[in-house]
């Protein structure tokens, strides 16, 4: 395959700072050297390449758009570019970084005490501590407000009971941000790996995100000290504000996966000979490539504009919903179209296509399903909430 040089039809690079370009190129080179050569193997085995965690930490990618506590304090566009490049490698790598930065470090940074920030954030930024985020339950996905996990005040500690499901990084995490109801109100708790009554068995049998660790979190009279509650937030807006951060990263990441599929499709169609000429010379194939480029370019402009809006504090959760929903939707269609262009070869692990396609099925559903994001926009348009 030819060297990957990104896809930038509308010259968006012109609007990036030198620092943002350098960050993008760093992660691009790292993915080429460290992720792409090994990822098919991990995907097949169904395990996460743990050895990459320390490298990601040393580069400072975890929580890199947060300020202080050993975090890089990059712009949201730079963070988006990090997600874009990581997901061209594999959605599992981007998911790991999203969960660590947006879902685990962000709530501590936004809602934690100074002691909690000092205790956890520097280690998490360096990849020495791994975090996970427990909101979804076996019976409550799109309806997180209906959660059944409960916390009870037991004098000098809280006691948690319940179960969370579909938790990225769960089994390998050193700490979990767990959302549970305390006296009927949703609160965030920091549960540590060694806390009694806490276990995180891995979920098996996935046909998607196979290079990612997905777990259950089980709390059976799990006792945690009182200083592990996140004091600064109550209610669903706590976990939802974390999800807005992560969904923003997916807006960029999904386009990264699409860019990888497009690059492979252009290469393949120019070298695959059928009827004595490259299949790239057929109108039907060119039409597919043009559609891919069109949707990638639109998705990039959307992600870029959303990033600048987030930097200036003007991005709303609804804008993020539209970005996540649109970009994952086009990415999955681009992956399917890429599979078509690659013919039977498209199902082989010699090409990244089928892996991206299967991964994106998860991304389509996690962090707010495609349909729920439509309903969030429906509520914004009409003022009527259709999902209560």
């Amino acid at each position: 395959m030819s060297r990957y040089e990104g896809v930038d039809f509308y010259n968006i690079e012109k609007h990036l700072t030198e620092e943002e370009i350098m960050v993008r190129d760093l992660v691009r080179d790292w993915v080429d050297e460290k992720v792409i050569p090994i990822i098919e193997d991990y995907y097949t085995k169904g395990t996460f390449p743990m050895e990459l965690i320390s490298e990601i930490g040393e580069m400072g990618l975890f929580g890199c758009n947060l300020e202080g506590y050993e975090c890089a304090g990059l712009s949201n566009v730079a963070y988006g570019l990090v997600c874009q490049e990581l997901e061209r490698g594999d959605s599992a790598i981007r998911s790991c970084v999203s969960v660590q930065g947006s879902l685990s470090m962000y709530p501590i940074h936004a809602f934690g005490t100074e002691e909690q920030k000092q205790k956890y954030l520097p280690g998490m930024a360096q990849g020495k501590l791994i975090g996970c985020f427990g909101l979804t339950e076996p019976d409550h996905g799109s309806d997180p407000g209906g959660m059944e996990t409960k916390a009870v005040d037991d004098g000098d500690s809280y006691v948690l009971n319940g179960a969370k499901m579909w938790i990225t990084n769960g089994t390998v995490a050193d700490l979990a941000i767990v959302w549970a109801k305390l006296e009927g109100k949703i609160r965030g708790f920091i549960v540590e790996k060694s806390d009694s009554g806490f276990s995180a068995p891995e979920m098996k049998g996935k046909h998607s995100l196979r290079a990612s660790i997905t777990s259950e979190l089980v709390f059976q009279d799990c006792k945690i000290p009182k200083d592990r509650v996140l004091p600064e937030v109550q209610g669903l807006k706590g976990p939802l504000s974390c999800l807005t951060q992560a969904r923003y990263g997916i807006t960029w990441g999904s386009i990264g996966a699409a860019m990888g599929c497009f690059h492979s499709s252009v290469d393949y169609s120019k070298s695959r000979i059928m009827f004595k000429k490259p299949i790239a010379s057929f109108q039907l194939v060119q039409n597919k490539l043009a559609w891919m480029l069109r949707e990638i370019t639109k998705g990039q402009l959307l992600a870029y504009h959303l990033g600048r809006a987030k930097d200036s504090g003007e991005a709303t959760p609804e804008m993020v919903s539209l970005g996540k929903m649109n970009n994952v939707d086009v990415a999955i269609q681009i992956a399917r179209m890429a599979r078509d262009i690659h013919g039977a070869n498209g199902i082989l692990n010699e090409y990244p296509i089928m892996r991206h396609m299967a991964n994106l099925e998860s991304v389509y559903t996690y962090e707010g399903t495609h349909d729920i994001h439509n309903l969030i926009l429906g509520r914004w348009i009409t003022g009527i909430q259709a999902f209560e």
Partner: protein, 253 residues
């Protein structure tokens, strides 16, 4: 320890090569840091980390500013300063005149070590480094695969036919680096952010004069012809025809 790293900006290997009127058309080229020079930056930064000092990048190029970000990346790896000599009409295939201009700048920098790649991957002349050493009146070791500080001396290893040559040199010395001398690091985000605060100086320099060759003509290699399929009724007949061709046409038997 003052270390000067020579960096040549060369056409990106994915650039499309086009010949117009016997000359390479450089107008559409994108440029990148010569890969051999990246090993030099990494080695220089490792020495600085070990014994202290300063790493200064010196590069000669045209006024094209599109190279600045790639040079800045070398500062994210750990170089402290960059001096870019901007020359109207710069060409990468004039080692003698280019070495003269570079040597004049390096002379003022009081370097203990001058280090660069063994050759540029544009013209593969491998001449600029040794010429600079000659002009500075210092020793040089070229094509080094391993370099170590040894008190006030430096020990360089180089691959030679059937063995390894070990050379001790006093300093100052000029070293050119062979491929895979080391593993160039991935910088951390904080190093990238720090790099923009480092000194990046552009200096206008005149077109130098040197004893360089003149390129008369350039051409692309001829397009490869198609292969020949040997026809025949039986395998034996095809093999006989193949052997005949190997004897009479390819003349390898």
């Amino acid at each position: 320890m003052n270390i000067v790293v020579l960096i040549k900006m060369v056409p990106d290997t994915e650039s499309r090569l086009e010949i117009i009127d016997g000359k390479v058309n450089e107008s559409g080229f994108k440029y990148m840091v010569n890969p051999y020079d990246e090993f030099a930056v990494e080695q220089a930064v490792q020495f600085k980390e070990a014994v202290g000092g300063k790493v200064i990048i010196v590069s000669l190029f045209s006024n094209n500013a599109s190279i600045d970000t790639d040079l800045r990346k070398m500062m994210a790896i750990g170089a402290d300063e960059a001096i870019v000599l901007r020359q109207e009409g710069y060409r990468g295939d004039r080692p003698s005149s280019n070495a003269k201009i570079l040597a004049q700048t390096i002379k003022e920098l009081d370097a203990d070590l001058v280090i660069g790649g063994v050759q540029g991957i544009d013209y593969y002349q491998g001449a600029t480094g040794p010429m600079i050493a000659h002009m500075l009146g210092i020793p040089h070791v070229s094509g080094v695969t391993n370099l170590a500080l040894n008190g006030d001396k430096i020990t360089a290893k180089r691959q030679i036919e059937g063995g390894l040559q070990v050379i001790d040199s006093t300093m100052p010395v000029l070293i050119t680096c062979q491929k895979d001398m080391n593993k160039v690091r991935f910088p951390a985000l904080k190093d990238i952010m720090m790099s923009k605060r480092k000194s990046f100086e552009n200096r206008e320099v005149p077109l130098g004069e040197g004893n360089d060759i003149e390129t008369i003509d350039c051409s692309l290699p001829p397009a490869r012809g198609g292969g020949v399929i040997i026809e025949g009724e039986t395998t034996e007949e095809k093999v006989d025809k193949l052997i005949e061709k190997l004897k009479t046409e390819a003349k390898v038997l």
